[in-house]
Amino acid sequence: MSTSHEAEQLEARPQGVLRLRHRDFEPDQLLVMAIVNRTPDSFYQPGLTWDPAAAMERVHAVVAEGADIVDIGGVPARPGDEVDVSEEISRTVPFVAAVRDAYPELVISADTWRHEVAREVCAAGADLINDTWGGWDGRLIEVAAEFGAGLVCSHAGGLPPRTRPFRVAYADVVADVLTGTLALAGRAVAAGVEAARILIDPAHDFGKNTWHSLEITRRLSELAATGWPVLVSLSNKDFVGETLDAPLDERLPGTLATTAVSAWLGARVFRVHQVRETRHVLSMVSAIRGDIPPARAVRGLA
């Protein structure tokens, strides 16, 4: 036992710089990735930003609220009407181009699993490919390498895109997450993706029941110990809803509690619907850690 424990100790690697677009982010900088859906039927507030003008308004709003990254997606995660490649491109590419025009320095992430779509959005100005479905399309990595883009390496338990978990079982879900995401990250590096631009994401709810999502949250420090920057996507998800028996519109407190715990355990990027609230939670965690000072402290100091 002591030998394997020592082996784990040896494997722990420090977090390094995360490089996105032209910027380097240090390990103690916690980043907010704002979700901007170009869909009529995503699970949370469906259709909110289906209209392009509304989507751009949302970008303006989240940037003003302190988002570091916008994550633009054209296909909902849940099953539903087919969205083929050309439809996904038409939903996302012109919009990515418009956001790039409006914000030359903003980090733009594209939420897609398809290499054909990734190619077009990268050409239009996206900096990061958020592959939520765990490397389903093996050629996605080539596109990231070709465009010098970043890549999110996720764990979806081997599920095909847009499918729901059905009686999924893991001997050790964290071990499976580590194996899957590290394999993807290794493949990406081998294919020429810059290591500083790679993140790993345990992908809460994807190929997981609520117990699994709670377990990966509880043991998130094991993911951080790999040295890869950890992205978590927690926002208003079903594991929060089931844990609290809370409908969609009552999941913010549970989301923020999970956000705080995840930040404490080493997550660095947070994909969210509510930017302002998340920013406050992350600033609070950073101040408790001592990474940033309070905004203004005078109590008892006069």
């Binding site: 001592g290 940033i292 000072p293 309070p294 905004a295 203004r296 402290a297 005078v298 008892g300 100091l301």
Partner: protein
């Protein structure tokens, strides 16, 4: 002999290290900087910082402000750290770029007026041309939101201190009641009484650079130059 005296308050928030990312009381900080700038511009041989503390005594001139007790992320400088008022005085001297000789002298908060005045006279009678940096705060009981809540006597007490400094009424400073000062949480009393004992006649030229109580504590910044 005394070449000049700067009066500054000694709240922890004078240090930007404890107040966070936004600027706090920039006018107060600027006034203190100006008073100390004038002080170190005099042709003095030594600057003596005088600050109220638990007990009277000299501190190592090389010691510096230790904020660890006020803002724990700041590392402790160890057991030899000076009292807050002296640490802040040292900080102001450093900020002013003063690198010459300095003394850090604490005056006990219970020291009677006579002892304070004698300490001041010793400085004034010494051979060295000495600039005084006197750290002292008025009442911390100047309103319902003040650290010590409202004491209706606070306003009169602080007004009398300010009048005495402006008009240079050293007798009035020496008559400040230690018991009342303590009740009013006015920590500056013994330091001002040292100054009263040190400043020679005739009355010095006085300029008040700041007077306010933004957080319910009276802050007075002034520069005094002997005529």
């Amino acid at each position: 002999m005394i070449t000049g005296a700067a009066l500054c308050p000694s709240p922890p928030l004078l240090s930007p290290q404890v107040t966070g990312r936004r600027p706090v009381l920039p006018e107060l900080r600027a006034a203190c900087a100006e008073a100390v700038r004038r002080l170190v511009a005099e042709e003095s041989e030594v600057v003596e910082v005088i600050g109220p503390a638990a007990a009277t005594g000299a501190w190592d001139a090389a010691s510096r402000l230790d904020l660890s007790a006020f803002a724990p992320p700041n590392a402790s400088r160890g057991a030899g750290s000076p009292p807050l008022a002296l640490g802040l005085g040292a900080m102001l001297l450093d900020q002013a770029g003063y690198a010459g000789p300095r003394r850090l002298v604490a005056i006990g908060q219970d020291e009677p007026a006579g002892a304070c005045a004698r300490r001041g006279a010793e400085v004034a009678d010494g051979n060295a041309r000495t600039a005084l940096l006197v750290m002292g705060d008025g009442s911390a009981r100047r309103g319902l939101k003040a650290p010590g809540y409202l004491d209706p006597r606070a306003e009169g007490f602080d007004a009398e201190v300010e009048r005495a400094v402006r008009a240079w009424d050293s007798g009035a400073l020496l008559r400040l009641d230690p018991v009342l000062a303590r009740d009013l949480m006015a920590a500056g009393r013994p330091a001002w009484q040292v100054l009263a004992g040190a400043m020679p006649a005739p009355a010095p030229a006085c300029e008040v650079l700041y007077r306010d109580d933004p957080f319910g504590v009276a802050y007075l910044v002034a520069y005094l130059r002997p005529r």
